[in-house]
C-alpha cells in the first residue's frame, strides 16, 4: 500500500445535529447508531476504501472520549487523529477548517461525518485532477425524497433545498444557493448563461458535503477571516469568483505598494506554480464545443460538481427522516456501502430467546431478548433488555435500552439508556436519552423526554 500524499483528508464530525429534533440531553450526531456501527464510521470507511491511510477528524471536546471508545470497537485500518474543537465556541465549518490550517500541507478532501454512501470517491478526485480544479464537489441525484411518517411531533417545516446550477457539458458548478435565500424569484446572472451552454438548474440534489479543495483556498480562508460556514459562504464565494477576472497588473501595482495585505484578492492566491498555463495553451484540448474561447474559457478558478448515476446510494444523516431511512436501508445495501461482508444480524454475544424475530431485524452485543416477544423490522443496539410479551415493529432502539413487559411499540426511536416501563403502547414516538417512560403510557406522535422549558411551549 502506497501512501497518498496528494490529498489530506478531514472529516467534520463536530456537528451538533441541529436539524434533528431536540430530545433533551446530549446526543452527539456522529455517534448515532446506524446498523452495527456509529454514523462516523461510515465516512471513515469511505475514505479507507479509496486508499486513505490517515485522516483528521474534527470533533467536539465533550464527545472525544465517547467517540474514541466507540470507534475502537469498529473495524478500521485508517489512522484517525481526533482534533478537538472547543465546545463553548459555536464554530462554523469554515472556522473549524481554519483551526487545522497549520496542519494542512496539500490539497484537502473535506468529508462530512454524517455521510453514508457507496460512491467511489475516486470519481470526484479524478474530476478534480482532470481539470486542475479549485473545487470539486459531489451531489446525489436521488430523485424525490421518500415519504415516510416520522416518529415524534409532527412538523410542517420543509427541508431547505439547494439550488444548484451545473453546466452539463463541462460538469462545471456555476451556481449554488439555498432556496430560502429567495422570495419569489431566483436571480441568476445573465453572464453565466452566456458563458455556459447547457446549464441545468437542479432543485432536488443532495449536497454530499464532500469537497476537494486546493491548498491555497485554506490560506485564503485564514487570511480573509470572513467566512464562518463552508457550505454557506466559502463554497458559494468560490463559485462566484469563477466569473471574475484578475485585475490588470498595472491597476494593482499602484495600490499594492501602500498596503499589500488589504488589497490581496483571490487571484493572488490562485497562482499556478508551474507551466500549467503554457501547457493548456499549447494543447488542442478544449472542454466545450461551441464558440471561439479557449479551454475553460480562460477561467483561473474552476469549480466542478460530480453527479453519480441515479442508483448510487447516498444519504446524509442530518435529519430525522434521513436517520430513519438510513437505518431501514443500511442492511440491504451493506456490502455495497461498506465493502465488508454482512455481519451477523444477531450478535453472537446476544441472548435471543424468542423465535418471532424476522430476518430484517438486528440485535446488538450483549442484548437480551426474552421469550414470547415479537420483533419485526427493528434495530436493537447493544446492552438492551427486552422483557416478555413485548411487540416491537419498525423501531430503532439505541444502546442500553430497557423495554419492560407487555409493551407494544410501533415506529418508535428509543434513545440511549431509556427505559419504557410495563404495558406501554407507543406509536410514532421519540423517547429521549435516559428517560423513563412511566407504566401504561399511551402515545401517538409524541416526544417523551426530560422536557426542558423550551419543549413545553413547543408541545
Amino acid at each position: 500500500m502506497h501512501k497518498i500524499l496528494e490529498f489530506q483528508a478531514v472529516v467534520l464530525a463536530a456537528g451538533r445535529g441541529s436539524r434533528l429534533p431536540d430530545v433533551g440531553g446530549t446526543v452527539s450526531k456522529c455517534l448515532l447508531p446506524v446498523g452495527a456501527y456509529p454514523l462516523l464510521w461510515y465516512s471513515l470507511n469511505m475514505l479507507e476504501r479509496v486508499g486513505f491511510q490517515e485522516t483528521m477528524v474534527l470533533v467536539l471536546d465533550e464527545d472525544k472520549s465517547s467517540i474514541l471508545s466507540a470507534l475502537e470497537k469498529c473495524p478500521l485500518k485508517i489512522k484517525y487523529e481526533l482534533i478537538v474543537i472547543p465546545a463553548e465556541e459555536d464554530w462554523g465549518t469554515a472556522n473549524s477548517l481554519k483551526h487545522i490550517s497549520s496542519r494542512v500541507t496539500t490539497d484537502l478532501v473535506v468529508v462530512s461525518g454524517d455521510l453514508i454512501s457507496n460512491i467511489n470517491l475516486n470519481d470526484v478526485l479524478n474530476l478534480y485532477r482532470k481539470h486542475d480544479a479549485v473545487l470539486a464537489s459531489l451531489f446525489f441525484n436521488n430523485g424525490p425524497e421518500e415519504w415516510i411518517e416520522l416518529p415524534g411531533i409532527k412538523t410542517k417545516a420543509k427541508p431547505d433545498r439547494d439550488l444548484v446550477c451545473i453546466d452539463k457539458d463541462t460538469e462545471r458548478l456555476c451556481f449554488l444557493a439555498s432556496a430560502s435565500d429567495f422570495e419569489e424569484n431566483v436571480k441568476i446572472p445573465r453572464l453565466l448563461l452566456k458563458k455556459f451552454n447547457s446549464i441545468s438548474m437542479f432543485s432536488r440534489l443532495l449536497d454530499a458535503h464532500v469537497y476537494v479543495i486546493k491548498h491555497w483556498v485554506i490560506n485564503y480562508l485564514v487570511d480573509m477571516d470572513k467566512f464562518t460556514s463552508l457550505k454557506g459562504e466559502l463554497i458559494p464565494h468560490l463559485i462566484k469568483k469563477q466569473l471574475a477576472k484578475p485585475k490588470k497588473l498595472l491597476e494593482k501595482k499602484g495600490t499594492s505598494e501602500r498596503n499589500v495585505d488589504v488589497n490581496k484578492d483571490i487571484f493572488d492566491y490562485a497562482v499556478e506554480s508551474g507551466y500549467e498555463t503554457q501547457i493548456r495553451q499549447m494543447s488542442a484540448y478544449n472542454d466545450h464545443k461551441l464558440g471561439n474561447k479557449g479551454v475553460y474559457g480562460g477561467d483561473i478558478i474552476r469549480c466542478y460538481a460530480h453527479i453519480p448515476p441515479k442508483n448510487t446510494f447516498g444519504i446524509r444523516v442530518n435529519t430525522l427522516s434521513a436517520y430513519y431511512l438510513s437505518n431501514n436501508k443500511i442492511l440491504t445495501k451493506w456490502e455495497e456501502i461498506t465493502g465488508l461482508p454482512l455481519y451477523d444480524k444477531i450478535h453472537p454475544n446476544s441472548d435471543v430467546k424468542t423465535k418471532q424475530i424476522d430476518e430484517i431485524s438486528t440485535v446488538g452485543d450483549k442484548s437480551i431478548v426474552s421469550e414470547k416477544t415479537s420483533i419485526k423490522e427493528t434495530f436493537i443496539g447493544s446492552n438492551c433488555t427486552i422483557e416478555n410479551k413485548v411487540r416491537l415493529t419498525n423501531c430503532i432502539l439505541m444502546n442500553n435500552v430497557t423495554i419492560k413487559e407487555g409493551c407494544v411499540l410501533q415506529d418508535c426511536i428509543i434513545y440511549t439508556g431509556a427505559t419504557v416501563d410495563t404495558n406501554c403502547s407507543l406509536q410514532y414516538c421519540l423517547v429521549g436519552p435516559h428517560h423513563l417512560v412511566p407504566t401504561t403510557t399511551k402515545g401517538n406522535h409524541q416526544l417523551l423526554a426530560e422536557i426542558t422549558d423550551n419543549m413545553i411551549t413547543l408541545g
Partner: protein
Amino acid sequence: MEGEKENVVQAVVIMDLFNNNLNPICTENPVGLLPVAGVPLIDYVLESLVAGGVGEVILFSCQEPTKVREHIKKCKQDMVPWTFSLDVQILSSETCETMGDVMREIDAAGLVRGYFILLGVNTITNVNFAALLDQHKQICKKDKGAAMTLVYKEVAWDHPLISNNKSVFLAADGNTKKILLYNTYKPKCKDTTVSLPLESVLHHSEVKLHHNLLDTNIALCSPSVPPLFSDNFDFQNRNDFIHGILINEDILASSLYYTKLKGNQYASAVTNWKTYHIISLDILHRWVHPLSIESGSFYQNSYTFMGKHNYIKTSSVLSRSCTLQEDVLIGSNTQISDMASLTKTIIGNNSHIGKNVIIQGSHIMNNVVIKDNCKITNSFIDCDCIIDENSILDGVIIGSGAKVNEDTKLKGNIIEKQQVNRTEKGLSKSTSESGTEWENESSGDGDEEFIGFEKQWTDSESCYSSDSSAESSLADSPVPDDTNIFLQEVIDSLARGYEEKLKCDYLILEINSSRYAYNIQLHEVNFYVVRAILSLPTLVDSKNVLVTVRDVFKFFHPVLVNYIKTKSSILDCLRAVEDSCLKNDWLNGKAGQIIHLLYNADVVDEDSLLAWYEDLKTDESEIAQQKSLVNFFEWLNEASEESEESE
C-alpha cells in the same frame, strides 16, 4: 385516397415578415423574392421542404401575392425539381397585417388537416421536417395539450447570428423539454440578471436554462394552433402566442416544447441585413448542404468554383488583373474590370464593375453599373442602380433604379429612387440618429475573433430596423390605418344592420370584435361609433337629412346607450359630432339639430353639453359659430333656467 392524404406532411409558409427590417428593398417586392446568394428565399424554402419530406405547402402571401404567383408559375414552367413532388397552394389576403391575422385566416379557411409545420419564408435550413414533426407527435402523445414545438439551433453566445438578433432566453423542464419561461432580449441589452419564479424551479427537479439558442423561425404545430389564434385576438405574432400560452397555460390548456437541432443540421432565419449577410456567407461556405451553390440543387449548375469560396458563372467576364479574395459569387454576364478587388461579396447578373473598384462585404443585384474607382463596403445595392465614379459607400442600402452621382460619400444611408437627388446633408440626419445608437451598443464587446466581422457591419447598422429613417419616407396620412379600417368596418356593419333591421345586440358584438381585431382603445371606439352612425350611406342619399338622422338615432339607440355611458364617453360622442359636422357635407350647419336629437334621446346630459360648448369656444372651433348650435344652447340655457324657476 383519404388515408394517403392524411399522411402527407403539411407546411404553412408565411410569406411576409410584417416588419420593416428589410426596407426599402422589400417594400415593393415580396420578401420571398429577395435573393440570398443569388437565389430567391422562396426557392430555398420550397427546396428544403421537399428535401425534408414535406408533401404539401400552403404559401400565405399578404404583400404583392401576384408576384409570388408568377414566380411559382415560372418555376413550374421551368420544371424546377421541387414542382414534381410538392403540392403548392398560394393564398393571399391583403388585409392581414400580422402573423396572427394569417393564422386566423388559415383557421377560418380550414386548410390545415392536422399536425403541420409553420415556418417563415426567411428560414434557410436543411433539416428533416418530417422527422421533427414526428418528434412533435410523440410529445403530443404524452401531453395532450402540447400545442407547439419550437425548433432551435444551439450555437455559442458569441455567434454573430445571436448577437445581431433579439436573443432568446428559455427555461424548460430538463426531462420533458417543456418550456417554462420565455424571454427575448434586445441585442446588447444591459440586463445583468435573469429571474426565474422560485416556485417553478422548485417544482421541477431539473430546469434547463438556455441563452444561446438561435431562433430558426420553424415551429411544429398541433391542430390546436390555428384555433388558439382565433380564440385570442391579441395574438399578433409568434411571440405573443408563446407568451400568451405560457401565462395562461391552465386556461388555454396548452403547453409549448422546444427541440434543439442536432449536429450538422443547419437552420437560421434572415431577419435583418446583418443576418442576411451572415447567412449568405454560410451558404457560400456550404453549411446548408445540400442547399449550396455548387451542388446543383438550384436549377442547372453553371457556377465555376475558383477556390477560396469564390464562384463565378461561366458567362461572366473577369479581367485578368482583378482579384477575388474570398467568398465572392458572380452572376452571369457580369463584367469585372481591371484592378477591381472583391471580397465577401455577391454580385448578380448583367452587372458591370468598373476599374479599381473595391467592394467588401456587399450585395449587388442585377443590372447594376458601378463605375471606376468606387469603394463600396457593407452595402446592399438593388437592381438597375448606377453608381458613378469615385463614390464611397459604406453601409448603404440602395433601392432599385437609383443613381448615385460622382464623388458621393455616403455612410449608413438608405436611398430610394425618388430620393436620389437629395443632397448629402439631408440624408446625414437619418444616419446620425440611428447610427450612433448602434455604435454605443456595440462598444464593450470583448470577443476578439468576431470583431472584424462585426465591426464591418456595425457601421452599416443604421440599415437594420432603422425605424426613424424608414418612417420618414412614408406619406403622412391623416388617420392611422387601423383606425380608418375600423371606422369603415363599423360603418359597414351599421349600414347593413340598418337596412336589414338587425338586432342592435348583434351589431355591438360585431363592433367589439372589429375593435379587438384592430386594437382600438375604448375612447376611440366611442368616438368612431358615433362618427360611423353620422356617416351612414342612408344619410348621404337622404333628402331630408334631419328626419333620417332622427330615425337612425332611434334605431341605434341601444348601440349608443351601450357605448355612451360615462362622462368621458359623452365627451367622446360630442367630439365625434363635431368632427362629423366638419367633415361630412350633408351635415353642414346642422350641428345644433343633431345635438338636440341626442339630447332628446337622453344620450347626452346638460352638464356635458355646456362643458363641451365652453371647450368649443375656447378652441375657437368652426362650428361654435354655427347658427344652429348657438340657437340650441340659447334654448338649452332658457330651458334650464325655466326648470330651475319652476322648482
